[in-house]
């Protein structure tokens, strides 16, 4: 019998967590209409303590989602509109020369990054230098200015948005920075029924009322609880085989891939699977969690060949093919046994 390395969460803990997260979902769902999958994914990402990259057209509620989330969680959020002339110090903060008792000294003036939830709006409009200012903050949750490190408040999340249109004058995010985002979520436009509901229930310029569901401590507890969710060896094996299959030569689906996903992707997939299991009230992650989250985790980590673009193949297509190709069983299944759709 394989025993987990850490104490798995008790059933009542899992149940309480599910209840809280359901309430959080309801709160956000009362403001953001028709984006249930997006809301679930955002909650999953937050519980997994990952940064999220939202991609979608303007006006679809990306900023509203982040604001609602920060209110519901009782966390401090800041919004930075990224522009080409934005400097790293505008985000991280700058040392300011101050005179105190006749002595002049540099005092670090904290930037907007010192918050719990940072909304980096249109992150791809900033220069690579400014974009890279977020690297240390996203990975190590601290900022170093003039040789002095400053810890960021916990929990710390970056929710960045980027606009898929008006690409002229933008700077695509480098792979190293893309790899630091747990999910890349696509915000799609709303159907007519949802639009009608928005028109009926929302008013221009009036902020919706959002109740705080969680305190900061409870949010941190949820993050810690998610780390204790049991990941069965079969699920870990499936994640490893799936991430390995993203590399060229390792699978047929990856034939158009130039660079596959990194080990960080495997860690992200495992963490996200744990968080999703907690969200659904389970003490264990499952292969179904991996399959549900793989498109969000792997799509932005796969770099395609130029020929793939010519053929119109997207990273999402490749991930879809990978999920069909990589067997859930670690060992070969005979061809004489046809697996029925379940």
């Amino acid at each position: 019998m394989n025993h987990p390395a850490v104490d798995p969460p008790e059933e009542n803990e899992v149940h309480e967590a599910k209840t809280v997260l359901d309430r959080l979902r309801q709160q956000i769902g009362g403001v953001i209409f028709g984006q249930e999958t997006l809301i679930d994914s955002v909650i999953t990402g937050l519980v997994a303590q990952g940064h999220l990259l939202l991609e979608g057209l303007p006006g679809l509620g990306k900023t509203e989602l982040v604001r609602t989330l920060s209110k519901a969680l009782g966390l401090v959020s800041n919004r930075v509109q990224f522009t080409p002339d934005l400097l790293p110090g505008d985000i991280t903060g700058n040392p300011m020369l101050e005179e105190n008792d006749g002595r002049r000294q540099f005092v670090f003036q904290r930037g907007p990054i010192f918050c719990n939830i940072l909304l980096a709006d249109e992150i791809n409009r900033a220069s690579p230098k400014t974009q890279s200012a977020l690297l240390e903050a996203m990975q190590e949750r601290r900022v170093t200015v003039m040789g002095e490190s400053h810890e960021l408040p916990a929990p710390f999340f970056v929710l960045a948005t980027q606009n898929p249109i008006e690409l002229e004058g933008t700077y695509p995010l480098p792979e190293a920075q893309l790899d630091r985002f747990l999910f890349k979520l696509e915000v799609t436009r709303n159907p007519v029924e949802v639009l009608e509901r928005i028109v009926d229930q929302r008013h221009m310029g009036a902020d919706p009322v959002v109740e705080q569901v969680l305190s900061r401590e409870e949010a941190e507890h949820l993050v810690a609880l998610a780390r204790r969710v049991y990941l069965p060896p079969t699920v870990g094996n499936y994640i490893a085989r799936l991430v390995n299959a993203t590399h060229p030569g390792e699978s047929e689906a990856a034939s158009l891939v130039k660079f596959g996903a990194s080990p960080r992707a495997a860690l992200a997939l495992a963490a996200a699977s744990r968080a999703r299991a907690l969200q659904f009230g389970r003490p264990n992650a499952a292969i179904e969690d991996v399959q549900a989250l793989a498109p969000f985790v792997l799509t932005h980590r796969i770099l395609l060949e130029y020929t793939a673009r010519i053929e119109g193949v997207t990273s999402r297509d490749v991930v879809g093919r990978l999920l069909e190709e990589v067997s859930t069983q670690s060992k070969e299944t005979p061809k004489t046994l046809e697996s029925l759709k379940v």
Binding site: M1, N2, H3, P4, P8, E11, Y230, P232, P233, T234, V235, A277, F280, R282, P283, N284, A285, A286, I287, E288, D289, T328, Q329, S330, K331, E332, T333, P334, K335, T336, L337, E338, S339, L340, V342
Partner: protein, 427 residues
């Protein structure tokens, strides 16, 4: 910790083992069946071979059984690393039944086992894909064991005996019908023929048998031909003796001499005349004996000779009295015989012997004697040789034909002018 046999854990693990067994069986058969199909094909070929040799089939069955066991053990050893464990079966069950990892988690002791104890593995067997080749191989094997094969006898024994033996039999039957032939001389051939026929049928077409048969046939034909020629000579001699013009002593002596010569030829043949006819011919073999025979006795004697000759000639396939010439039966191209080509033999005109006929174009009489010349038989005329003034080209091979065959002259490789020049030089 021992759990009760009816606990959910036991139920789930039993089902997991069942799934693993099913998958492992499928995996093993998937790898094994192509080999078994190949084995069935090999067994089919061996079965056909064994049946052809009238051998026993049970060793084939035993060998196939042993080979099957060997293949099974080999594949078991080879595929062992790919076999599913009970844990793999559990994973399949939780995937197929959307249990979201609850079985693996329960097995790890993190959570309890699900209460629903029945689950499907959601696999559908497609056995025909793997078993199809095996079924085909077995069917071919069954056909190989069931289809009637040609018997050995018909395979190895020739249907017909060699042509030479058949022809010798026919010739012997024909000769046996001739009354005036000595039976003992025929018995000798019959014994030789029986000896050849008594050899095993599969040896009929061996080189030695064929050679012996053809030699016997040639010997019989040669003897018969020699006898027929001698009989024709005797008949001719008796015919001369019966002519009114044979009144002189010299002519009677010549006829008797021809008759003796014919008797010598008969003695040289292995076919002998019956004692009565042979004695009568012996008695007539002297001038005095010949003169003592009346014309009617001569006619009867010739009639007896003609009967024998006709019988022997029937066996040879040629009319009595017609010379065999050089193109004897049994000779031919590729047998070392000089061929003269189609047509009648020299000195024959049409189908008749010029020595015994009334003549051709009235110029050849029946009283021609043995020293008759070519000019007595074919018409010739003497003319002065004519010189061909045309230069002769050596490139034509020195054998150029000329238009008038009767006016042929000996051709010289030099022209007359050149010849006169040569004569002057050597003088």
């Amino acid at each position: 910790m021992a759990e009760p046999s009816s606990s959910p854990a036991n139920d789930w693990q039993r089902q997991a083992r069942r799934v693993a067994f099913r998958v492992n069986t499928a995996l093993l058969l998937e790898k094994l069946l192509p080999w078994l199909a190949a084995l069935a094909l090999a067994a089919a070929a061996t079965t056909v071979l064994v049946r052809t040799m009238d051998g026993m089939l049970w060793p084939v069955l035993a060998a196939v059984a042993l080979a099957s066991i060997g293949l099974f053990c080999w594949q078991m050893r080879k595929q062992r690393g790919r076999f599913w464990s009970a844990n793999d079966g559990l994973v399949r069950l939780e995937i197929a039944n959307q249990l979201e990892g609850r079985l693996s988690t329960a097995k790890a002791g993190v959570a309890g086992w699900p209460n629903n104890r029945r689950a499907e593995d959601a696999y559908r067997s497609r056995w025909f894909r793997a078993a199809g080749p095996l079924f085909a191989g077995l069917a071919i094997w069954a056909l190989a064991a069931w289809l009637p094969l040609p018997q050995d006898q018909t395979l190895t024994t020739p249907v017909a005996q060699p042509l030479a033996i058949t022809q010798a039999e026919e010739l012997l039957e024909t000769l046996e019908e001739v009354e005036e032939l000595e039976p003992e001389s025929l018995n000798k051939f019959e014994e030789a023929l029986d000896q050849l026929k008594s050899r095993p049928a599969e040896d009929w077409y061996s080189h030695s048998s064929l050679e012996a048969g053809e030699s016997l046939l040639a010997n019989m034909q040669d003897s018969a031909r020699r006898l027929a020629d001698s009989l024709a000579g005797a008949d001719s001699a008796l015919g001369q003796a019966g002519q009114p013009s044979t009144s002189t002593e010299g002519q009677a002596e010549r006829a008797a001499s021809d008759l003796r010569e014919a008797l010598n030829g008969m003695n040289a043949s292995e076919l002998r005349l019956g004692s009565g006819l042979e004695q009568a011919l012996q008695n007539a073999g002297t001038p005095s004996g010949l003169r003592q025979l009346s014309l009617s006795q001569l006619q009867r004697l010739r009639m007896r000779i003609n009967q024998v000759g006709t019988g022997v000639g029937n066996g040879l396939g040629q009319p009595f009295g017609e010379g065999s010439g050089e193109g004897e039966q049994g000779d031919g191209p590729g047998r070392g015989e000089v061929q003269r080509g189609p047509g009648t033999a020299p000195l024959t005109i049409g189908e008749r012997n010029p020595l015994e006929t009334e003549g051709v174009d009235g110029g050849l009489q029946s009283d021609l004697e043995g020293d008759v010349g070519i000019g007595d038989v074919v018409g010739t005329r003497l003319t002065a040789p004519e010189e061909n003034e045309q230069p002769f080209s050596l490139s034509q091979g020195g054998d150029a034909s000329i238009s008038a065959a009767a006016e042929a002259v000996n051709r010289q490789p030099v022209t007359p002018v050149e010849r006169r020049l040569l004569q002057r030089y050597f003088q």
